[in-house]
Amino acid sequence: MKKFWAWGALAFGLLYFVLPLIGMTNFSLKMRRGEYSFDAYAKVLGDPQFQQTFTYSVTMALVTILFGVILVVPTAYWVRLRLPGLRPYIEFVTLLPLVIPAIVIVFGYIRLYNTSSWLPLTGSLMGTNLLLMFGYATLSLPYMYRAVDTGLSSIDVRTLTEAAQSLGAGWTRILFRIILPNVLIAVLSGAFLTFAIVIGEFTMAALLNRPAFGPYMQLLGANRAYEPAALAVIAFGITWGCLGLIQLVSRFQKTTQRPA
């Protein structure tokens, strides 16, 4: 009896989640009247604007990941090693982007860093790009920090550092040769999640007027019928790909992780 309800709940859930995916895939293939074809995809992939915005977003994603890793890994390491009492406060800060919605954050950016402020980031193109990157880094901070911190918790940071120092290693070497390789899996997980977040992000890019993939999708949605569905399929595929990669990469854990 219990199994009946369980399978029922699952089937119901499956229906709800699979139908929209089928719907969007189906719609994306119907561009050519009367038959299924990849016309919508061809159109989209051939659109120079698609290529431009997609490239922009991918570049931004990679830069954000790089910045995120450079910021988070040493910080998480240092806090664990030397300032363990600060950990709850740091954790609280890293969870703030989950509390404050993206739209509020970017609203704050616009008001704070406009042309008449002390740091006129929005005044120049490069400045705005930089601001957007920082915004992306803020959005992905909770996930990146959580991933890296969890990764660090499974290795004995203090002992490894002391062993390395006793053998004569300096800080950069410790970080690059010892800490980073051991948390690489965690860093990769954070990186893939950041990638998924940045590619699909709309709010910040739209309000800062940058040619990112998110606003491009929305624009197309307002004007076209079939291409948006194709875009949605592509976006879903990318998200699925990123998370699939995280799962894959997690399987190569060399150290045992305690379940969350």
């Binding site: 139908l19 719907g23 509020v104 709309f202």
Partner: protein
């Protein structure tokens, strides 16, 4: 040995090294300050300022106009409905997988899919639902041509309150599943057995033991789902095209250009959003701390 003395000296002279410790945290502190704390502070302070910089409560008062209050109210309603439904359905699915006696290989893929679905929000999600339940959507057409049910005449419109709720559920339900599954895992088998050997039926066990234990987690996640929906804007815009009067869309428009006639009203709007999501998250954290204390 030399290494011993260096290690010893590092631990016996902490006061001397104190300034150095804090240098390590400087980059992060600068980042958090510039791109998280200062913008938020700017909003909070700006909400209480006039354009010339003096203190005022006018902006907050300005929130209490019918259209803005309506926007907040609709936002709260949508967030509440998608959170409640997401909570209920998500809890049902999580219990089905963890306790329902289903084959163990279902759990992994389900959790992975939940991870994907909870991140599949925004513009693409709106497109997917439009392609399924919109006027030309797969299911709409199917129901009309094959079964003879016209969703339109039944009053269903994707570009409305319930349409948005239904769409939001796509990431709310998986979020619930992801967060509540560890809590359900945490229900020790011995509690069920102890209750059973003391004479309790399955229902009694759930009513007197399992549900009370899970309640803080469930309520806490409800608060989290609420905050999550409240701040969502991309999906709403993509679906309704800025026509639905919800607070994030209002703020979006205000950011683009001063549609409300008072530049500082935007600050008040944003401040209001921070208060709502802040309170919801505070409830979540408090309830989680309570349940963790019980379960040690």
């Amino acid at each position: 040995m030399a290494s011993d003395s260096t290690a010893a000296s590092q631990t016996t002279r902490p006061t001397r090294r104190l300034p150095l410790q804090w240098v390590g945290i400087a980059p992060f502190a600068a980042f958090a300050l510039l791109f998280l704390i200062l913008p938020t502070m700017k909003i909070v302070i700006g909400a209480f300022q006039t354009p010339d910089g003096s203190f005022t409560l006018e902006n907050i008062q300005g929130l209490f106009t019918p259209s803005i209050l309506a926007a907040y109210w609709i936002s709260i309603k949508i967030s509440l409905s998608s959170a409640l439904l997401g909570c209920l359905i998500g809890f049902g699915m999580a219990t089905a997988v963890v306790l329902g006696g289903l084959p163990p290989w279902i759990r992994g893929p389900l959790l992975t899919f939940s991870g994907v679905a909870s991140n599949f929000a925004g513009v693409p999600l709106a497109f997917a639902f439009l392609a399924t339940l919109g006027p030309m959507g797969l299911v709409t057409v199917f129901l009309r041509t094959q079964i003879g049910i016209d969703l339109r005449s039944l009053g269903f419109n994707l570009l409305s309150f319930w349409g948005l709720t239904l769409t939001y559920l796509f990431f709310q339900i998986p979020l619930m599943v992801l967060i509540i599954t560890p809590a359900i895992d945490g229900l020790k088998r011995e509690w069920k057995e102890a209750a059973s050997i003391l004479g309790a039926t399955n229902l009694q066990y759930w009513r007197m033991v399992a549900f009370p234990i899970l309640l803080p987690s469930i309520l806490g996640t409800l608060a989290l789902l609420f905050a999550n929906a409240f701040g969502a804007v991309a999906t709403a815009i993509a679906l309704t095209g800025s026509s639905l009067n919800i607070v994030p869309i209002l703020l979006f428009a205000q950011s683009r250009g001063d549609v409300l006639g008072n530049p500082h009203l935007g600050y008040a709007l944003a401040f209001g959003m921070i208060v709502v999501t802040g309170v919801a998250n505070a409830i979540y954290i408090w309830l989680r701390a309570r349940s963790e204390r019980w379960l040690k």
